[in-house]
């Protein structure tokens, strides 16, 4: 056997070993979710009662009240939930069935991530990154809870994946129409898909160089189709709120209960410094009540990405739990820095990642929207990493590109680190280990 073929065979074997290891770790993450959807207390999910009210409305055959706590949310998740309820055995609580929707959506999203990443990075890096994202605390918690976040993120991620695979030749209309359908489903699930519509228009416009009329038509189609399909919901919201744009993204615009509860939350007002301050408590005590953390936007984002910064899933008052979460938060610094390194690599060689332009632009838009949202609503509950879940693809791409930029020895060490972190996260998030 000649040397280059031997190297290729060895690389192939190594790649398959990393894929197998990533699958095993992801399986552990899935096991955690299946356990947690039963073990996690009923309706302790983030805004659990609010989402529950919406499902009750659909179960009665009514649309959610836009003046209710979560009534501003589009109804698709709740309609699916009501349908699942109909076939659920009586011994299975309804909230478990609703959480299972999030589990399935999370699995789909992770698979889509892996497939999309393989277009840009080595198979091993794609697999390891997808496994880490799948098992990360923000992802695990959101996909173990009832609510529309994970389903909305999965529809958006499918649309974004399609934007990385726009046909280089031939007609674009069919491809754009299919993308538009996924975006419509996203808009019927969560309003954050609006930013994905804008990114999709850009994606088709850029991909259509040399076929300008087709590019224009595709860009228009991918905007008009989902907006037209979902307009009924958003027009209804705007009417109910008297034209408030905030009503599209937050119950604070209309629901008096939301306004009352948010007004009681810290910090209560925003300063520019909140967006640059990063207290040590984000890593050593990642709970919003820790000194300085309720005010720090990057701090609480990190704490809610790599731990349970809002204290919604883990009992922070139980000895050992906050320490375990702190370990995750500290270790989470590594992938965060590697993703930053990946951003630098990407900016230095943009032509290599041109097909990822639209997803990356979407990620930037979502971050900008979150900055705006947290400024308008200066309360700690508005600073949630799960709001950025629809940007899982661009975030994962930055991480995978960062991993791929290391020398072979360091790359293997980092891959191993990522899988260990993923496994550790699955363990810490297993409900009840502290009992």
């Amino acid at each position: 056997m000649s040397a280059p073929v031997a190297v290729d065979v060895n690389r192939g074997r190594a790649s398959r070993r990393w894929l197998a290891a990533s699958l095993a770790v992801a399986a552990a993450g899935l096991a955690t979710r299946i356990h947690d959807i039963y073990a996690f207390a009923p309706l302790h999910d983030f805004d659990g009662p609010g989402h529950g009210v919406n499902v009750l409305a659909l179960e009665r055959g009514e649309l959610p009240d836009p003046q209710g706590w979560g009534g501003f949310h589009p109804p698709l998740y709740y309609a699916i939930g009501a349908a699942v309820w109909r076939i659920l055995p009586e011994r299975v609580p309804v909230h478990v069935g609703l959480r299972a929707i999030s589990v399935v959506a999370g699995v789909v999203l992770a698979i889509v991530l892996w497939r999309a990443l393989r277009r840009f990075v080595a198979d091993a890096d794609a697999a390891v990154t997808a496994a880490l994202v799948f098992c990360s605390p923000v992802f695990t918690i959101a996909s173990s809870m009832l609510g529309n976040e994970m389903l909305g993120a999965s529809f958006v991620t499918i649309a974004l994946m399609r934007l990385t695979a726009i046909p280089p030749q031939g007609p674009l209309a069919g491809h754009a129409a299919a993308t538009g359908v996924w975006l419509a489903l996203g808009l019927w699930t969560k309003s954050s898909a609006l930013a994905a519509v804008a990114a999709a228009a850009l994606g088709y416009a850029l991909a259509g160089r040399g076929r300008r009329s087709q590019a224009f038509a595709a860009a228009a189609l991918v905007v008009v189709l989902p907006l037209a399909a979902a307009s009924a919901h958003y027009v209804r919201l705007m009417r109910a709120s008297g034209g408030s744009l905030l009503s599209v993204v937050s119950g604070a615009a209309m629901a008096p209960q939301v306004q009352e509860e948010m007004r009681a939350q810290p910090p209560g007002e925003r300063h520019v410094g909140d967006y640059v301050r990063l207290p040590l408590s984000a890593f050593l005590a990642p709970h919003f009540s820790a000194p300085g953390l309720a005010r720090s936007v990057p701090g609480l984002l990190h704490a809610s990405a790599w731990a349970d910064g809002h204290g919604e899933f883990l009992p922070a008052d139980v000895p050992g739990v906050l320490s375990a979460a702190s370990v995750l938060s500290c270790l989470g610094i590594v992938p965060a820095l590697v993703a930053l390194f990946g951003l630098v690599r990407l900016l230095r060689r943009p032509e290599r990642y041109r097909a990822a332009t639209a997803p990356l632009v979407f990620g930037a838009l979502l971050v900008a929207a979150l900055v705006r949202y947290t400024w308008v609503l200066p309360f700690y509950s508005a600073v949630k990493a799960s709001y950025l879940l629809p940007a899982a693809l661009p975030a994962a791409l930055l991480l995978a590109v960062g991993i791929g930029g290391l020398s072979p020895g360091r790359r293997d060490a980092l891959r191993g680190f990522c899988l260990v972190l993923a496994l550790l996260a699955s363990g810490v998030l297993w409900q009840g280990w502290w009992e």
């Binding site: 055959g61 909230h95 209804r236």
Partner: protein, 172 residues
């Protein structure tokens, strides 16, 4: 799309036979605290409008609030860990069942270890889809000794405040 969602939900809601009123009352107790959404589907808007429950510390008036707001607090009350624990301790036996056309009245005896029993009467009616829902609950024989059980069996603001006073905590 909106019409499709509602029609599909109604069609699915109509699937399967509706349980009789005494079974609805049994399911109510089986699901309290353990399966709050199923419990919520057994009660009507009339009951939700009447319980008066409010979030602790809330100063908003409850009169005239929408069904969604009333349901929210009712569900949040059931989500308290101590609620589910207490509900699991209740033992219920049916005393009488009266059904006439689209209305029914079920009387049950509710007891728990160490607390005197009380009577709880359910008033149900059939909704437009043929399903029985609980419109009103009345209780007899509620004293300080079984106040917690009474609150869990039929959460209302009146009982919550009585319970808070009995426990010596702020009613909020």
């Amino acid at each position: 799309m909106r019409a499709v969602i509602v029609v599909a939900a109604l069609a699915l809601a109509a699937c399967g036979g509706a349980p009789p009123p005494d079974r609805v009352v049994s399911r109510y107790f089986e699901t309290l605290g353990r399966d709050p959404l199923r419990a919520g589907s057994l009660v009507s808007g009339e009951l939700q409008a009447a319980h008066g429950l409010r979030h602790v510390g809330s100063t908003r008036p409850v009169d005239g609030r929408g069904r969604a707001d009333s349901e929210l607090v009712w569900l949040a009350t059931q989500a308290k860990p101590v609620f589910a624990e207490r509900a699991a301790m209740l033992s219920v036996s049916t005393s009488s069942v009266q059904e006439e056309g689209d209305v029914a009245e079920i009387s049950v005896r509710v007891a728990s270890p160490g607390a005197p029993p009380f009577v709880q009467r359910f008033f149900l009616s059939r909704d437009g889809t043929g399903r029985w829902r609980i419109d009103r609950i009345e209780q007899e024989g509620v004293t300080e000794a079984n106040l917690a059980d009474a609150f869990v069996a039929a959460p209302t603001e009146v009982l919550r405040q009585r319970l808070a006073a009995a426990l010596g905590v702020s009613a909020g």
